[in-house]
């Protein structure tokens, strides 16, 4: 396949609190977008609590470099990228340019996590890295998995994104936090933003919830995802959409992915 998007797009997924299923949703969306025939990258900017690599069953021993190495000037950003096409999409010829999926992990070493927290880093360098990734890996889409809450890498991700996906659970604490994220995103003039409501228990009125949340934040709700026992059982050990492609959750994720691919 030789299709290319004119301008590569950056998508940030964010949730104000932990446990919303943000990494899971990001990984699934990235896989689904790649599957549609695109070159896709996922960067784990959750330096304090990295985790998205687990969904791709990546071992720390498979990391050549990490985002941390790049921020400390030890490598170029693309050197930290791991090609996960085979394990996440499968059945793709080794030489074919598309689809392709890359993961740029953050370090899992306690000392390196501590160092970033202690010393901080140049947030401008992170921006340079994101743009270098788009260019050097010739990506069509780059997904940024951010740390929950508000910190520098989160804000930078929002500032450079074409689309911000806010993940919330039907929970008052999530709602309050999301108001903060929405306000910051508007200040940072993110061009497009939508909300995905995740882990919605059976029996809750999805349409009413969609309307309520949409009105609360004056932001579109793109999907209401059901709380799924299969997802819980997967225990972040796999990409859900790969294992249960016909599950209603997978179908709902697919509609979001289709929308992203049309950006």
């Amino acid at each position: 396949m030789t299709k290319t998007v004119a301008v590569p797009k950056i998508i940030s997924t964010h949730s104000f609190r932990g446990g919303t299923g943000k990494s899971n949703t990001t990984a699934n969306l990235a896989v689904l977008v790649a599957r549609a025939g695109w070159r896709v990258g996922i960067i784990d900017t959750d330096i304090q609590s990295p985790g998205i690599h687990v969904l791709f069953r990546l071992q720390e021993s498979e990391f050549r470099h990490s985002l941390n190495d790049y921020l400390w000037g030890k490598c170029r950003i693309e050197q930290a990228a791991i090609d996960v096409t085979m394990r996440a999409i499968g059945d793709v010829h080794e030489d074919s340019e598309r689809p392709r999926l890359f993961l740029i992990p953050s370090s899992l070493k306690t000392g390196e996590i501590a160092r970033v927290l202690r010393e901080g880093y140049d947030v401008g360098l992170l921006n340079d890295g994101l743009h270098d990734l788009l260019k050097r890996l010739q990506l069509d889409f780059l997904f940024i998995d951010t740390h929950p809450g508000v910190n520098e890498e989160t804000l930078l991700s929002i500032a450079v994104s074409d689309l911000l996906v806010l993940i919330v659970r039907p929970d008052q604490q999530d709602f309050q936090g999301t108001a903060v994220a929405v306000e910051l995103a508007r200040k940072l003039k993110v061009p497009e933003m939508f909300i995905v409501i995740n882990k919605v228990p059976q029996g809750m009125d999805a349409d009413a919830l969609r309307a309520q949340v949409g009105k609360m934040f004056e932001t579109e709700v793109a999907a209401v995802l059901p709380l799924s026992t299969e997802m819980v059982r997967t225990a972040s050990g796999d990409i859900f959409c790969n294992r249960y492609p016909d599950h209603p959750l997978a179908t709902a994720l697919q509609t979001v992915a289709d929308r992203i691919a049309r950006l």
Partner: protein
């Protein structure tokens, strides 16, 4: 305690800066000129010769406090002649325009910066950017005694940089030990009554002002202060009365780049001042302060990489002060984050 609105705005500003495409342009500029290995590092005093010829930093600051930096932008170096316009501003504030004009002219000299020559008719040094003029200017800095005059000098640079500044003592000692030519210039002016009886003290002040340690980011902020009508963008503190800013900039445009000043005004058209430490400060009124630092100097005494970087910025973004009808992308356009 929840952050105040100001803190949120500051954080948002920082992110916009980090995400602005201008960063990419500066990186590209840096990558293009970093390999240029021409010029000589100043070595008239041993301390200056210690500079690494590979050092190269570029910084740009805006009047609203955005700062863009690439390369060795935090490397300290001595300000040298870049101090001259800023101290001239202090003299204007202390003594007023007419008195200062009676002591120091504003004509480009065509002579070397360290020439021992005064205007024959008026006995004034030609302008405040040549050593003679800078010494006469330093003589005008007020204070009840030497320590107070030095303290005011440091306070001046503190206001422009928005941080504490220090003097490199070994450079200062070397400057005063080897400053025979500057002493000669001083005594010639003393002979004509163009400097007062505290000449020795004034020479010390002059050597001190040349030895102030700054980095490229400081230069950009000093430039942005002048671009902002005299108010430091980050602190909001006024460093110079607004009416004097235009006089500083005029002199920087006509005399700021040693013997290259004429061609600089012609080609680049950015009021600028360079120093033998390798720094150049440039001012785009109302828009930007530019700081460039790289120690190797060309035959005229200006930073080789600094001149190249400023020339490209000026041509590419229409920054020449007499530019009009420019239709290309401007540096201002590059302040807004682009997506993807």
């Amino acid at each position: 305690m929840p952050p105040t609105l100001d803190e949120v705005e500051l954080l948002i500003g920082k992110m916009k800066t980090a995400a602005a495409p201008l960063r990419d342009v500066l990186r590209e500029l840096h990558a293009r000129y970093a390999p240029v290995d021409e010029g000589r590092v100043a070595d008239y005093i041993p301390e200056l010769a210690k500079a690494d010829r590979r050092w190269f930093g570029i910084a740009i600051a805006t009047p609203d406090g955005q700062v863009f930096e690439v390369g060795d932008s935090k490397q300290l170096f001595t300000i040298q002649s870049i101090s001259k316009p800023f101290v001239y501003g202090l003299a204007l504030e202390d003594c007023g325009l007419e008195h200062v004009l009676s002591k120091v002219g504003v004509e480009p000299s065509g002579e070397a910066f360290n020439a021992i020559v005064l205007d024959e008719a008026s006995n004034r040094p030609f302008n405040p950017m040549v050593n003679a003029g800078a010494i006469a200017t330093a003589d005008l800095v007020k204070g009840k005694d030497y320590p107070e005059r030095v303290a005011r000098l440091l306070e001046l640079f503190r206001k422009y940089c928005g941080r504490d500044v220090y003097i490199d003592n070994s450079v200062f000692m070397s400057e005063r030990l080897t400053g025979h030519r500057n002493r000669a210039i001083g005594h010639l002016m003393r002979n004509f009554g163009m400097v007062g009886e505290k000449l020795d003290e004034t020479l010390e002040i002059y050597f001190q002002q040349c030895s102030v340690l700054v980095n490229c980011r400081d230069l950009a902020l000093m430039g942005a202060t002048l671009a902002n009508g005299g108010v430091q963008p980050l602190t909001g503190i006024r460093a110079i009365p607004q009416p004097y800013v235009k006089h500083l900039l005029s002199i920087m445009l006509s005399c700021g780049m040693y013997d290259y000043a004429g061609e600089w005004a012609y080609r680049v058209g950015i009021p600028s001042k360079s120093g033998v430490g390798g720094g150049i400060v440039g001012v785009i009124p109302g828009q930007f302060g530019i700081g460039v630092f790289s120690p190797p100097l060309d035959a005229k005494g200006n930073s080789v990489r600094g001149v190249l970087a400023c020339r490209e910025l000026s041509e590419r973004f229409g920054l020449h002060c007499f530019e009009s009808g420019f239709t290309g992308t401007t540096m201002r356009d590059l302040l807004t984050p682009v997506r993807g």
